[in-house]
């Protein structure tokens, strides 16, 4: 059931750029199609197809909070967590957004090496703010093509269009999310999981990378979130958990589970803000005579990235001013020099990274229309994530919890080690958790 285009890699780029659908799957299974390069595992044709029975499944519960696994709504996730290797302390990495943390998972590298620091950046060449959803935006090697080159099949089932976009044609098999919910630009978990099941049945990838978007998407728009009710989100949690449970059942039935590791984590968590807790830095920055007209802002919900557009020689002074103005603004937690070493952000992230406090959000450039949604992330309050490794393979410790800090950048080293893949040039920034 492969869509054997003439040159899938090129075609994939075009698809991703154009946002055009190649396909078409209907829920229910039959007819789900996957893009692929001609012949699985032939990207590096010199390498014979590996015969390992090992399988790795990386399942991202987008936007899930660690404590939600104990909420009683997710019995399947809770069981997987408690029976395997659990990292009670795990963190998303700056900027705590979806695209950078997914690229960190697959590359094991931080944004100063991947080139992907946030969902939204100001593109200095284009002169506008845009989403980092192009295959060329991701500069680092990922497991998807590195394993493929060694003859192992890899697959992506990513619910969000921009994730499908940025990973381009790196994986051997790719599902293009469909049907897409307008505005949210993602496929509901019901469809995503159907595709994941189909991909296992049809192509049985050695590594599968699955993003489930419901919990994040329902959180973003959940108007009961700021009051603590989170009604939509709770419904989504129970449903996603059921789907994950069904996926594990399938892996058992197909005989993959005993050879598999399954890494389950989130890319970031979620924070809810009331309508009156909105920060807009555009006006105060414009009010500064030096900065007026010389600053661009890429709004990432809980983090604003500020870009100095004026002459380079005045950059240091501009950074000082931007930080001072931001830090005087209500709701701002901190305004950091992007060059701060621990951030590990490259120049794509601009000059100043501003984080909001818990319960706030940014809306730039327009204080009302730019970001009206209650659920946000990107700021430190959304750093903790669930992170655990399950699966039937003997390398997975049973009923073990470790106190060390695990991060999204640890996924690639973990899976890489599992398959015996050497570290990439320059090494990983994360570390294996096995």
């Amino acid at each position: 059931m492969t869509a054997g285009h003439v040159d899938q890699r090129v075609a994939g780029l075009a698809e991703a750029r154009a946002g055009r659908r190649t396909l078409l799957g209907a829920a229910g299974g039959a007819g789900v199609l996957f893009s692929t390069a001609l012949g699985a595992g032939t990207a590096g044709a010199a390498v014979p197809a590996a015969r390992t029975r090992k399988r790795a499944y990386v399942v991202v519960i987008d936007g899930c909070l660690p404590e939600e696994i104990d909420s009683g709504l997710t019995p399947n996730l809770q069981r997987l967590r408690d029976e395997g290797l659990r990292h009670p302390r795990a963190a998303s990495l700056p900027v705590m957004e979806t695209i950078p943390n997914h690229t960190m998972m697959m590359s094991g590298m931080r944004p100063d090496r991947t080139g992907v620091p946030a969902n939204s950046v100001f593109d200095r060449e284009l002169g506008e703010v845009r989403t980092l959803d192009r295959p060329s935006d991701l500069r680092a090697p990922t497991l998807l093509e590195r394993l493929d080159r060694r003859g192992l099949r890899t697959g992506t089932v990513l619910s969000k269009e921009y994730l499908y976009g940025i990973f381009g044609t790196r994986a051997t098999y790719r599902w293009e999310p469909a049907p897409i919910v307008p505005v949210a630009e993602y496929a509901p978990d019901e469809f995503t999981m159907t595709a994941a099941r189909e991909m296992v049945t049809a192509h049985d990838p050695h590594l599968m990378f699955v993003n489930l978007g419901d919990i994040d998407r329902f959180g973003h728009s959940d108007l009961s979130g700021p009051g603590g009710l989170e009604l939509l989100r709770r419904t989504a949690l129970a449903n996603t958990d059921r789907l994950v449970g069904g996926f594990v059942d399938l892996l058992r039935e197909e005989g993959h589970w005993e050879h598999a590791i399954m890494v389950v984590l989130a890319d970031h968590s979620m924070d809810f803000s009331f309508p009156d807790r909105v920060i807009s830095l555009t006006a105060p920055l414009e009010a500064d005579p030096m900065l007026a007209g010389q600053v661009a802002i890429a709004d990432n919900g809980g983090a604003d990235l500020l870009y100095w557009l004026g002459p380079a020689r005045r950059r240091d002074e501009a950074v000082r001013r931007m930080r001072a103005i931001a830090e005087e603004t209500d709701g701002v937690l901190e305004a950091l020099d992007r060059r701060k070493a621990s951030l590990r952000l490259g120049p794509e992230a601009g000059d100043v990274v501003v984080h909001c406090r818990d319960g706030w959000r940014f809306s730039d450039p327009d204080p009302v229309t730019s970001n009206p949604i209650p659920g946000n992330h990107g700021h430190p309050a959304t750093r903790p994530i669930p992170f655990f490794i399950s699966g039937g393979h003997p390398s997975v410790p049973r009923r073990t919890a470790r106190p060390g800090l695990a991060t999204t950048a640890d996924v690639a080293p973990t899976v890489g080690q599992f398959f015996g893949l050497p570290a990439p040039r320059g090494g990983y920034d994360g570390r294996s958790r096995l």
Binding site: E67, R89, D358, G359, P380, P403, L405
Partner: protein, 556 residues
Amino acid sequence: MTTPTRRTVLRTGAAGALGTAALAPGVLSPGAVAAPGARADRRTFAHGVASGDPLPRRVVIWTRVTPTPASTPGSGKGPQVTVRWEVARDAAFTRVVRRGNAVTGPSRDHTVKVDVDGLDADRWYHYRFVLDGRRSPVGRLRTAPRARAAVRRLRLGVVSCANWQAGMFAAYRGIAARDDLDAVLCLGDYLYEYAPGEYGYGNGNVDVRPHDPAREMVSLEDYRRRHAQYKTDPDLQAAHARYPWIVTWDDHETTNDAWRNGAENHQPDTEGDFKARRARAHRAYDEWMPVRMDGTARLGDGTRLYRRLTWGKLAEISMLDLRTYRSEQSSDPQAISDPARTITGKRQLAWLLDSLGRRASQWKVVGNPVMIAPVTLGALPTAKAQAVTEVTGLAPDEGVPINVDQWDGYTADRRQVFDHLRDLNIDDALFVTGDIHSAWAAELPFEKGTYPLSGTVGVEFVCSSVTSNNLDDITGGPEGSSAAVEATIKGANPHIKYLDFDRHGFSVLDITPVRAQMDWFVLGDRREADTTITHSASWLTRASSGTVEQAEGPAR
């Protein structure tokens, strides 16, 4: 709720099965681990041995020598002497790994305190002192794991509020009898300042055993003698010899309700300058406790007690000093939220926020001398409210009683701490608290008024007192008679999940990457040194949850 009265506990005696089961086999006799072939000289080393503040390579060891009969504590008499110390891998001292000499004399009340360096991380050792061939009892100490070690468990004894006059230190016997702890956390009120007859047992105010000196401690001699008296207690000696202690003070180490420039129980007219008195109290504390002040075991180089200890990647323990820098207590509703007032002082607050934000370790344990969970008393009858006020320091305030000696009286500081925990989404903040002579398990609501919808920022476990009076002692009722009050308080404070106002004892805090659990062990009759010790309750908090729940039983 069926709660055993003191009488039923006594009647069940040793058949307090839970407690007995929880105690390790091979219960020690009072005193230290005996070294084969070496008898301890208990006249020269009349105050036992102690260790404290374990780091990966360093631990403080302590003793006090009485080189001549005249060299009694506080006397200022006796010669300068050199005491040898030894640290060995075994109790027989066949494998001594560190040894040295320490000079002591009347200027430091013949106390010896050494910060032993060069030890291996995460190991148990034995230590002893020798003066002119006379040997001390042998103590045990352990080092902390390396900072980056993936530690799977930390188990701490937790104690506070040991009033000599109110009873015997059976709780310390319970600590010493266990073989499964890593260290003992002492959250303050290790000793009391009162004269005989001023603060004793129960509502009859009976002194089970009188304080020495027979006056409120005010002078340096007084403080030294009082410390010395406490350290003659065999159960306290055994608990010190058995485990390293991690201590902080509350008010009674100086005097009741101490604040930056004074105290409720300090009368400048007759007792002189408060700060001079406090300096004497701190001096005696530094001499007599196995603790690093201002980061060292040296005397006289500073009295900063707040400090951080690390237990691998599992836990960091931040010990607070909530007396030395705090503003005066007030029950004025305007004042309690005045940002100009402080319970921590500015520097300590910045340090605490930094501690909480550090990412090296999972559990942020805060050794917290006074309670941080907000508490209102609800609609209690006046007499009961007054009794609660007396035992806890909760004071009525215009009909809305609040807890003004505690963080409740300094809400601006607490707001900063809670905001910080929320803004950085810091998981696993765990406040472990003493001071109020009662046992509590509480969630820390981000905003009390909108709890539970507005969520929590951490949890708090409060240990009961070793001996100091609590509610039934004041009302004169039997243990368990405070159930109605407890129910009222829990009703008015839904974030408070467990409360025992009547019992005394110690706690065990067991921390793993998955959860932290507090077990409360309670005494039969604290007037008797050999009274029963039984398990009363266990509550836990799961990692990342910020909530507490009842545990099935004590940690195994």
